[in-house]
């Protein structure tokens, strides 16, 4: 039982140590500084998220976030809240916020991509993947 208690407490301890350093990255072809600031504002204000990547391409906005692992159980709620916030700020964009690791992983890979068309295709594909159910 002692061992079990240990395993339950470790995540709690780590919560205290993880700090506020969020890794937030934005991909934007137009390189609009205003957008960066706004994305940062939204994600910084959300306590449940520790990392996020936003991609602006062709009237589409994909925000892939990672919730803190021990808060993953309210993933859907986090997604809904963020979607609302992003939609309010970026009315002209088609917004998709996802806390799915797959989207986060792929979005980060796109950061280095120069070819806008490729990014566009990939984002569309990711949106389709996101809709798939088991």
């Amino acid at each position: 039982m002692k061992k079990m208690a240990f395993f339950f407490f470790v995540p709690l301890l780590l919560t205290g140590c993880s700090g506020n350093e969020k890794t937030i990255e934005v991909y934007d072809v137009l390189d609009d500084a205003q957008k960066r600031v706004e994305v940062r504002e939204v994600l910084d204000s959300n306590e449940d998220v520790y990392s996020g990547t936003a991609i602006f391409v062709d009237q589409q906005l994909l925000v892939a976030v990672q919730a803190k692992p021990w808060l993953d159980y309210k993933k859907e709620k986090i997604e809904k809240e963020l979607t609302k916030q992003f939609e309010e700020r970026f009315t002209e964009f088609d917004v998709l916020v996802s806390a799915d690791y797959k989207l986060f992983w792929e979005a980060n890979k796109l950061m280095e991509e120069k070819d806008q068309q490729k990014v566009n295709d990939k984002v569309k594909k990711l949106k389709e993947l996101e809709k798939e159910e088991t």
């Binding site: 995540p11 780590l14 803190k68 692992p69 159980y73």
Partner: protein
């Protein structure tokens, strides 16, 4: 963060197994009884909307234990019921599947032709 993610899978997956062992030992039940109880528990949790958050939280820690069987079957039935109402509850039963069952059948069938049982003690 990824470490905590794995830790959650370990702790929650292990915890479900621990509950299974307690049911088996204290109830003096066979593995068959225990697994049946867990599957029903998974279905009920799923109906209450509690199993999906558990999967979001623990990943494989919640999808690997047998309770996820009850969950995926229930989600299938509920989805059909949502779409087709009363008829859906019945027809849903013919649509739902679980990858675990199909995989076990296929691999079991293959294994039957490859392996022969031996009695080894240790």
């Amino acid at each position: 963060m990824i470490f905590i993610d794995f830790l959650l899978a370990f702790v929650i997956g292990g915890f479900i197994c621990l509950i299974g062992q307690l049911i088996m030992d204290f109830g003096k039940l066979t593995p068959g009884h225990t697994l049946s109880i867990l599957v029903v528990a998974g279905a009920i949790l799923s109906g209450l909307g509690l199993y999906q958050p558990l999967i979001d939280l623990a990943g494989a820690g919640a999808t690997i234990p047998i309770t996820s069987f009850g969950h995926s079957l229930t989600q299938g039935a509920i989805a059909e019921a949502q779409k087709h109402g009363w008829v859906g509850v019945l027809t849903g039963m013919f649509e739902v599947t679980s990858s675990g069952i199909s995989a076990a059948i296929v691999f079991g069938f293959i294994a039957a032709f490859i392996f022969k049982p031996k009695g080894k003690a240790n």
